[in-house]
């Protein structure tokens, strides 16, 4: 129960799951509390942004762009963008925010990262569906073409971004200067996420460049799951898988090293 020497793998996994569950509920409470709609804000926050932007784009560009309905493009793009921004900004301060918890020996710094990551992964995905379902029922949206592709793209994206976020968190833990760059970088990275365009809309030379970004592949894959073959998408699943795995391999090595050096005052 309290890390008492030899445990079977099953016991270890169960105790890890318990720790992460406790952290997850704590995170929910800290961020949203019991007040008014409470943890529904987990969904509400990204929803407000997505709906707002969907409305704005429709006003600006009309219902269609390059023959594709604009609202689903915004919804898919903004969901991934929100996730990207949330995960990274939540990870950056994670070690510092949770340093006091380390006196509970079952809590390792990485557990706090995992809890935050899971929360965003699920929260933003629910927000996506909360926006999608009424629009679908009202007939504004076509049905999702391929759920398995859509969801695999989502979880792959979350997995990869989580790895990336861990790397950023570790770098920020080592250097406070690095932390100053995070918000501007998040903003400057927006074109590289592919949230605001579809690759097929771009001239061929630009396509080559944006397709270097694994985030663009993720977005295209996510949209391929949404629209199906009626809309042209270009992505390579293996590229995304490789990116996610490499990110995580670096991330976990770094986290392991950083964990040893976390000091609390």
């Amino acid at each position: 129960m309290y890390a008492m020497g030899r445990q079977t793998t099953g016991q270890k996994l169960r105790s890890k799951a318990r720790t992460i569950n406790a952290l997850l509920v704590r995170e929910l409470m800290v961020r949203f509390g019991h007040g008014n709609i409470g943890f529904m804000w987990l969904v509400g926050e990204p929803l407000i942004l997505t709906i707002g932007v969907m409305g704005m784009w429709t006003l600006l560009y009309g219902e269609q762009k390059h023959g594709v309905k604009i609202m689903p493009v915004v919804l898919t793009g903004y969901s991934t963008l929100t996730l990207f921004r949330h995960i990274i900004s939540r990870y950056v301060n994670c070690f510092r925010d949770n340093a006091g918890l380390l006196f509970h020996r079952s809590v390792r710094p990485v557990d706090t990262l995992i809890a935050r990551g899971l929360l965003e992964t699920v929260g933003v995905l629910i927000a996506f569906f909360v926006a999608y379902i009424p629009m679908r029922l009202l007939g504004y949206f076509d049905p999702i073409y391929d759920y398995s592709l859509l969801l695999s793209a989502w979880f792959l994206f979350c997995f990869g971004i989580s790895g990336f976020g861990m790397i950023v968190a570790c770098i920020c833990q080592m250097s406070e200067t690095a932390e100053r760059f995070v918000q501007p970088m998040l903003y400057l990275a927006i074109p590289a996420t592919g949230s605001f365009f579809m690759v097929a809309w771009l001239p061929e030379s630009a396509q080559k460049i944006v397709l270097l970004s694994p985030l663009v592949h993720c977005n295209e894959m996510f949209r391929a799951g949404y629209f199906g073959p009626s809309v042209a998408t270009s992505w390579n699943g293996w590229y995304v898988v490789t990116w996610a795995l490499v990110n995580n391999a670096i991330a976990w090595t770094l986290v392991k090293r950083t964990q040893r050096h976390i000091e609390i005052s």
Partner: protein, 237 residues
């Protein structure tokens, strides 16, 4: 640290003592910190044991490395070298409130601890409430608590979980006199069977409850079986 008295030699006897199953064994603990002014060797080889039910005092002047030792024993930070064997379940430093989330209510903080330590939630709440006597306040965020209330909650939370060994870092003086009496009773009478690591400048408490003492000086340690002798050495440091 700048004292001219001779440094303690490495306590070989404690370092080489066999490790028993239901004990906490600390061996050759070294901790270095990298600071802008160079490497600080805070702990330079600490060794001692805590057997089941045994109460051991850690004595040392400011800067001897006590708080670092607490962080290592508490498991927050990793030693640079050496190891800690934990054959008993050990508490976090008693009444430590650093793990509280100020924006969460007292109840939510209790629930979190209960989940983390796999305790029944309702029972834990009852136990904590019973001891801390915070009543309705438990439903307000911890940030609205007075420092006394916070300390009472922290203390009660530590006691709500059945640890084999308690880590006590200089905070037995929480709350008003009545609560102090209550916490002393809870700790030293109701939990007489528990092991304790007591870090305190209060010689009175140490004399009444501890069996042995570790004297800490400039990052080195020496275990004394004779408590009075240890206190004498400590007073002379």
């Amino acid at each position: 640290m700048t004292s001219s008295a001779p440094v303690l030699p490495v306590d070989l006897e404690a370092a080489n003592a066999p490790i028993r199953k239901n004990s906490i064994a600390i061996r050759n603990l070294v901790k270095d910190y990298h600071t802008p002014t160079g490497t600080a060797h805070v702990l330079k080889g600490i060794s001692f044991d805590v057997q089941a039910g045994e109460k051991i005092a850690i004595l040392g002047r400011n800067g001897a490395g006590k708080s670092t030792l607490v962080k290592l024993v508490g498991g927050v930070e990793r030693p640079t070298s050496g190891f800690i064997y934990r054959g008993m379940s050990m508490s976090w430093p008693i009444a430590f409130g650093g793990g509280f989330e100020p924006t969460m209510t007292g109840l939510d903080n209790i629930r979190f601890i209960a989940r983390l330590y796999n305790q029944p939630i309702r029972e834990t709440i009852e136990r904590v409430d019973d001891f801390a006597e915070l009543g309705k306040h438990l439903m307000s965020p911890v940030k609205s608590y007075s420092s006394g209330m916070r300390a009472r909650l922290a203390f009660a939370l530590t006691l709500a979980i059945d640890f084999d060994c308690f880590l006590i870092d200089e905070v037995i003086s929480v709350g008003d006199q009545r609560f102090q009496r209550k916490s002393h009773e809870a700790l030293f009478e109701k939990r007489k069977h528990c092991a304790m690591i007591l870090i305190s400048h209060d010689i009175g408490i140490i004399r009444s409850y501890c069996d042995r003492a570790v004297v800490l000086k400039a990052g080195r340690s020496k275990v004394f079986e004779d408590l009075d002798f240890a206190i004498q050495i400590y007073s002379a440091l």
